[in-house]
Symmetry: C2
Subunit: 229 residues, 2 copies
């Protein structure tokens, strides 16, 4: 029996990584006189990884890491005008409309006919709340959980708070590292819906069992049925 | 009868605004060849106010607003080195130890002998969780609520989730705008513990009743007693 279905937000219900990728491309174009795109790309990832413990996830963290990378990769030769452009790129990301993925609303509605549904999304609180409000999906959920990290400890805490044993929980998301691996590890089940781009810091090795992959959210009801949902 | 006592975090249980003020002073010193300190100060506040709807609260927002202000107030004459310094100032704030205010732990312990105690703190999720972990106070609370804004709607939602009627709730905090006004407005009571510095965006007109001011957290138990807690 399935009591609770958790949905990830970014790149599961609405587009997110495409906005980051698009901005990353503009960032590389901005610095093209100073360094090749692939070098800027790699250095940006290094900076983000180094800042993760201090900044956490989200667009403001990314903007700060772009500025830091721009200064370092150009040895200080980047212009103040370019840095202003990076601030503007960050603001454009923050005010970007929330574009739903195809089938997102229907998947939540159909899951909610079988179980409680909760949004479990990671990142910057303010930005996630703002995106959720613009998504028009908030009222479909029984609970909203915005967390700073999606690891085993977080899922254990959430399930304890919601009073649901792990074996009656299914998580649906695009990130192997955040949505699948920790859920399977604590005895829950997971449905992987890959997005066409994956941020390098979200990659992880696939568990051998306890999860299924679907190509489209349309297939979710039949997986839940097969699991007794 | 009092069922629930809410504590604010920043500048109520641990020092926060002093770290911002100290950084603001360094920021003004950094730009002293370009503009007088009071001009930089006023322009920083203008930038923060203009960015609030897009950035929300917190150190990363402040860092981005400092960089924007530096570029604007100097008409682009600020150096890239100075911008690097601003990134470093932001990081120093994020890794600053959580310094507890005198009597913080004892106030929570004594309140918890009378009622449930909850931390209700506003700002950046990642930074607040990190500060709370470093504070050593987390295990004293029955619940932790990190919210993006402390307005009437937020307090109503939290009390509904916790199943506590407003008249059985007392909020303790340093901000008239975030801890006192909205709580009194929905029918709760509030205890104002002023901090020696108040961020200009946290100022508000005082309600005529429903709250008390104390000079030190030591006085909280007697206020709670007088209210039947």
């Amino acid at each position: 029996m399935i009591e609770l279905v958790g949905f990830d937000g970014d790149d599961t219900l609405w587009h997110n990584e495409t906005i980051f990728s698009m901005t990353q491309e503009r960032f590389e174009a901005l610095l093209q006189e100073h360094a090749p795109g692939d070098v800027v790309h790699a250095r940006t990832l290094d900076t983000e990884r180094a800042n993760l413990d201090l900044y956490g996830y989200g667009i403001k963290s990314f903007t700060l890491s772009m500025i830091e990378t721009a200064i370092e990769v150009t040895d200080g030769a980047v212009t103040v005008d370019d840095i202003k452009t990076l601030l503007d790129l960050g603001k454009a990301m923050l005010s970007h409309p929330t574009d739903l993925l195809d089938g997102a609303r229907d998947a939540i509605v159909r899951a909610s006919q079988r179980a409680q549904v909760v949004l479990i999304t990671k990142g910057d609180l303010f930005d996630q709340e703002s995106k959720l409000a613009r998504s028009g999906l908030a009222e479909l959920f029984d609970a909203i959980e915005i967390v700073s990290e999606k690891d085993e400890r977080t899922y254990r805490r959430l399930l304890a708070e919601l009073g649901v044993p792990p074996e009656r929980f299914v998580m649906v998301g695009n990130s192997m590292k955040s949505d699948i691996v920790p859920v399977v590890a604590i005895g829950g089940r997971a449905v992987h819906v890959p997005y066409h781009v994956t941020w390098a810091l979200e990659e992880a090795e696939e568990p051998t069992s306890g999860w299924q992959r679907i190509a489209h959210l349309d297939e979710l009801p039949s997986v839940l049925s097969s699991w007794g949902g």
